[in-house]
Structure formats: structure tokens, C-alpha cells
Assembly symmetry: C2
Homo-oligomer: 133 residues x 2
């Protein structure tokens, strides 16, 4: 499937509450949020997708994301399955990760895992966003 | 003043609500939070300060922070003064930024700016954390 990152990010609203994770050289910030009401801005560095909520802001340079990867894993605590989407930069490092957010460990909202699986089927386990039009 | 980063982070509770900002190669996540109830973990990568809240998690590899810088600036929108603390890595890049969080643009909680100024006087505008004991 050929798709832009913009289209994919908007489809991510179907995933419900996500745990967004951004990591720098020393710090990790993780925030619970639904991806919704994105707005866009062309900046010198690239085309940004942006989201403003009461308690958080999120910005993504879409031009800097070269690959998107669906990844199942095992939780560090609780022995349950995690469902992540990794947004990889030109070095193959995750510039952004989005995990399906559980309530109690391992308890997902009904339909949430299915929505993740549907996106994985549509886009493929690893895919490269098409350049924006 | 000789201080460890742990001591400084705990003193940051006096700053009230902060806007914590972590930036990767492509993404920026900003979350409003007070730095409080930190707990610590020794991991192979370094000594981590950690914070868990309802809607966010925060982790900082304290060994990777080489310098701390107090920085006044001007807001992008609204023409008011911003008060930040930059936690710089070994390349001098901000691995974490913490801005005093305003309510309405430029409106800080009484005492908040003074608390930032007090810390700046105590620690100095730019200072290097002492290695943890």
C-alpha cells in the first residue's frame, strides 16, 4: 500500500489511547494520548504534524521518518503482549514509538488490538512512507 | 555550589508546574508536570531518575547530563518571557528542557519565577553536576 505518513497518522486515531514515547540522548518522555485533530505546518526542517492537548504537545517532522514498523513485544513487567508502532529515522532508530495503551496490565479496550492488526495488514509490517504530495 | 543532578532535580519541585520537553531526531513531546516523587534506578546505561504519573512517565539518565543551563528567552507567540532549564548532554545539546509553565501566556503562578531565580542564584547560570556519590 502506498501511503503518506500524514494519511497513516490520521488512521492511527482508530487505535484509541496510545502511549507516545520520545527518547533523546538522555531522557525519555512517555505520554498517554489519542492521535487526533492533527494540524500541519511546513517549516524549514520539514513538514510537521502537530497536536495540542491540555497537558501535552506533540510535533513530528514527517520528512525525517523513513520507515514505519509494527512490532509485537513482551512487557517488561506483567508478562503480557505489547503492540507498538515504531517511526524510524534515517539511521533506523525509533524517533517516535506508539504503544497501544493498556488499562490494567495486558487489558486493552475491546477492538484496540484488532485495529492495530488491521493497520498492520493494510500497511504491512514494515513500510516506507511515500513523499508527501 | 557543588551538587549532584539528583539534588538539583529534587529542588526543581519548588518550580511548580513545568513543561518538560524531550526531542528526538524527528519528534518532540512536551508535557506539563511537576517534578516530584522521583525514584531512582541503577541501570547498565547509567543512574536513572524516574517519575510515574497518571498520564505520563519520565526517565532521565543522570550520568548523560554534563551541564545544566538556566535560560531566559522570548516566547514564540505572545511576546512574553520564558524561563527554561536546559539539561545538556556531552555534545552540549539539550537532552531535556524544562520551561516554567504559564497559565495564560506570560502569566506565571505567583512565586514561580522567583523560585527559578533562586535556583539560578544557588547553582549558577551554567553549572556542571558533580558525579553521584
Amino acid at each position: 500500500m502506498t501511503a503518506t505518513l500524514k494519511e497513516f497518522l490520521e488512521a492511527c486515531e482508530t487505535l484509541g489511547t496510545l502511549r507516545l514515547i520520545v527518547t533523546s540522548s538522555a531522557a525519555v518522555l512517555e505520554a498517554k494520548a489519542t492521535i487526533e485533530k492533527l494540524f500541519y505546518a511546513e517549516l524549514p526542517k520539514g513538514n510537521y504534524a502537530n497536536m495540542h492537548k491540555d497537558a501535552l504537545e506533540f510535533h513530528l517532522n514527517m520528512n525525517a521518518i523513513k520507515q514505519v514498523k509494527f512490532e509485537m513485544g513482551e512487557s517488561k513487567r506483567g508478562n503480557f503482549t505489547t503492540y507498538a508502532i515504531r517511526f524510524l529515522d534515517d539511521k533506523g532508530e525509533p524517533a517516535l514509538s506508539a504503544f497501544l495503551q493498556w488499562g490494567k496490565p495486558g487489558e486493552y479496550v475491546p477492538g484496540q488490538v484488532e485495529a492495530w492488526q488491521t493497520l498492520r495488514e493494510q500497511y504491512g509490517e514494515v513500510w516506507e512512507p511515500a513523499p508527501a504530495a
